[in-house]
């Protein structure tokens, strides 16, 4: 993979790995869950300082002017170290608003303000919800991007948390993240309006799903590394666990799935950057990422034995985090169905 990256990209990945190793990790994710926070504010501050939030924003508008491949390099490390931050939400929104004329909210986003998109219930799509939507990081969000209608026209709005028209109560996921139903009836500022909204919203939904899949990729790497370490050190019947061939072959299958998925994600990021991506690719990426993380976690948990069934062990919090990420912005079922419909080719 390395040979496909430029020198700059390699440096970026190294520094991302360092930063995430410093601020993240499974233990930190567990502490955060127990503390009741859904965002790691220290990590968020470090990420803001490192300038990641504007990765997709043109330099002229205060961003880094980079692309989806660079975003991938960052998010992979976020996932690998289970850092609980709204990086894909913020970078995606910043990208979106940087393309609009008035750039509403851009400077706040780049400054680390937590603004999260509320997508239709259980789907990837902004439009399907009948007024109800679901948002991640809702416990900490200061504003929500919501799909509404104005005079019969679709309109994306930025709704402040304390807007009286906003109805929601925060619910928690098993990993401590939040996933909250929202409904809105009010008059908050309109970001985009009219026909354009559909196209914008679809691309935004795709970017969110892609980014979440990348976090899952990093999480898979972490789970596999943890499992390999366990297999190499833990002994049973006088042999290291990892010497048993039945176990070896199952880990290998996880590795093969992971390697092909890494290639798929990299390729889709390139397609995004070159303007050749198609929504079916994103559906494939998210569906497959959710499927293979489930397979890899099943193997990882099984091979950890009883210790993997305790809350104390790191593999458990990774599993829980993977469940939340898999369900966010369309789970395996939703996205595979979307892929099927996009490629159905009916006469």
């Amino acid at each position: 993979m390395d040979e496909l990256l430029s020198e700059d990209q390699k440096l970026l990945r190294e520094s991302a790995a360092r930063l995430c190793a410093d601020v993240g990790g499974a233990k930190r994710a567990r502490e955060l869950r127990d503390s009741g926070a859904d965002i790691d504010t220290e990590a968020w501050e470090a990420i803001r300082e490192a300038g990641w939030l504007g990765v997709l924003v043109p330099e002229a508008k205060g961003g880094a002017g980079l692309g989806a491949v660079e975003l991938y390099l960052l998010l992979e490390q976020v996932g690998r170290h289970a850092v609980m931050v709204p990086l894909i939400e913020t970078t995606a929104l910043a990208w979106l608003v940087s393309q609009s004329k008035d750039e509403m909210g851009l400077s706040a986003l780049l400054a680390g303000r937590v603004m999260v998109p509320a997508l239709a219930m259980d789907g990837w799509d902004f439009r399907a919800g009948k007024g109800a939507a679901r948002a991640a990081f809702a416990a900490s969000a200061e504003e929500f991007l919501m799909f509404t209608h104005v005079a019969g026209e679709p309109a994306l709005r930025l709704v402040p948390r304390d807007d009286p028209g906003l109805q929601f109560s925060v619910t928690r996921n098993v990993d401590g993240s939040s996933a909250t139903r929202l409904a809105y009836a009010g008059g908050a500022p309109v970001l985009v309006r009219g026909k354009e909204v559909d196209a914008v919203a679809a691309r935004l939904g795709d970017l969110l799903a892609l980014g979440t899949a990348i976090e899952l990729l990093g999480l898979c790497e972490s789970a596999l590394a943890m499992t390999l370490e366990h297999l190499k050190t833990r002994k049973q019947f006088g042999h290291p666990l990892g010497s048993f061939q039945a176990l070896q072959h199952r880990v290998v299958d996880g590795f093969v799935d992971l390697e092909t998925n890494r290639a798929l994600i990299h390729r889709v990021c390139v397609a995004w950057d070159t303007g050749t991506y198609e929504p079916a690719m994103i559906a494939a990426v998210k569906s497959r990422s959710a499927r293979i993380v489930a397979d890899i976690m099943r193997t990882s948990l099984q091979f950890h034995g009883a210790i993997g069934y305790t809350d104390e062990h790191d593999i458990g919090i990774l599993w829980k985090h993977s469940l939340a990420l898999s369900a966010r912005y369309g789970n395996e079922l939703t996205q595979s169905d979307r892929f099927a419909r996009l490629t159905a080719d009916e006469e």
Binding site: R134, T310, K320, L333
Partner: protein
């Protein structure tokens, strides 16, 4: 829930049906409503009143002989009793006293031991735990290191037990301890002691599970003195004694109840979330339901064979492999069916009662690691049933 997969394979006799109805009425009228909830783990103290009601009805120990206060029930009756309790969403008593150590005491205990221990197991007054696993001895149990040395008329126990279900609630532990460190093979040097958990020198620490509750504990033994009369079944006989309950007394733990409940819940959830119209969901549901039907048939056949003392060696591992896998895959389907709501810590409300999807998913991981991992059970079939060679 108008379609009931289990009903496809009910082959109750007239008498069975009458017994089933009797149990159903009893559970409806006697189980405290707050305990009636599918798949919800209840700590031993909260369970006691319900155990007591079953005891008073004479149904606490369906499989025990009548002379010890049991029902002397047929395996079919046992399964009916179990099924009707589960169907109502009611909990079953913990098996450690009634199903694990009780039958061993009946088979291998002295008259004094029977008189002393059986009544409080039966009534549910005493909570028992099983002290087998250790940090370094999970699947490879024979390598256990907790030592017991005879000193006068007491054994002095030192060591560390782990993964003990309800260890922190237990009044008594039945423990496998090493009494002959030189024995070859290693399992020939193991004895079974009945240990009062209030004996000085025992430190108990709960272990938090993935589900977030403390289902297990670990116990540290520091010069714990156990009276010699608490030795069960003779010195260095522990391995043989422990093997006595690997059969039918544990039969109900392999019952396909989890998959039955989960697949029914998955249908309900899917109809609410729209997953019902998703081809991948339907394909997986159909495959799991078909597999469940086969497993139901196997399980009932196995019960009959076991009742006739004709169960093949492969029976227990097949139940473990097929049943465990089915329950796990079914709990995974629950998570998928619920879409964005799947990973929530909140209950998913359903007509059949609320379900906490995460808890169920986490709980099911036990099935492939407890009492012999999936891999160990596959090894048993490969070598002892199919006769495949060692390397």
């Amino acid at each position: 829930m108008s379609w009931d997969i289990a009903s496809l394979f009910s082959d109750d006799t007239e008498a069975d049906r009458a017994f089933r109805a009797e149990v159903r009425d009893f559970v409806r009228d006697n189980c405290p409503p707050e305990l009636k909830r599918h798949g919800f783990r209840i700590d031993p103290p909260a369970l006691k009143p319900w155990h007591r009601r079953l005891y008073e009805r004479g149904w606490a120990a369906p499989h025990w002989p009548k002379e010890y206060g049991g029902m002397g029930a047929t395996l079919t009756q046992q399964i009916i009793l179990f099924e009707e309790i589960v169907r109502a969403g009611a909990p079953t008593p913990y098996p450690h006293g009634l199903n694990f150590i009780g039958p061993i005491i009946i088979k291998a205990g002295t008259e004094e031991q029977k008189a002393r221990f059986l009544p409080s197991i039966l009534s549910g007054e005493a909570t028992w735990c099983q002290g087998y696993s250790e940090a370094g001895a999970g699947s490879d149990l024979a390598s256990l290191n907790t030592r017991a040395v005879l000193d006068g008329d007491h054994f002095v126990v030192n060591g560390h037990k782990m993964w003990t279900t309800n260890g922190h609630y237990a009044d008594w532990m039945f423990a496998l301890v090493r009494t002959d460190p030189e024995a070859k093979p290693r399992h020939a040097g193991i004895s079974m002691l009945l240990i009062d958990m209030r004996t000085p020198g025992i430190t108990v620490k709960p272990i938090q599970t993935l589900k977030g509750d403390a289902e297990f504990a670990e116990e540290f033994f520091d010069n714990v003195r156990v009276p010699q009369e608490n030795l069960l079944g003779g010195i260095n006989q522990g391995w043989r004694i422990a093997g006595m309950v690997l059969g039918g007394e544990r039969f109900t733990t392999g019952h396909p109840r989890y998959a039955l409940v989960y697949l029914n819940q998955a249908r309900q959830i899917a109809k609410e979330t729209g997953a019902w119209d998703n081809p991948t969901f339907r394909a997986r549901l159909t495959e799991l339901e078909i597999d469940l039907l086969a497993f139901l048939a196997y399980y009932r056949q196995a019960a009959k064979l076991h009742g006739a003392n004709a169960a093949p060696l492969s029976m227990a591992p097949v139940i473990k492999i097929a049943g465990g896998g089915l329950a796990q895959r079914s709990s995974e389907l629950l998570m998928l069916a619920a879409g964005g709501r799947g990973p929530s810590v909140e209950d998913f409300p359903l007509q059949s009662g609320p379900v906490n999807i995460g808890s169920e998913l986490f709980e099911m991981r036990r099935l492939s690691i407890g009492s012999g991992t999936l891999e160990i059970n596959r090894n048993i079939i490969a070598k002892r049933v199919l006769g495949l060679p060692d390397e």
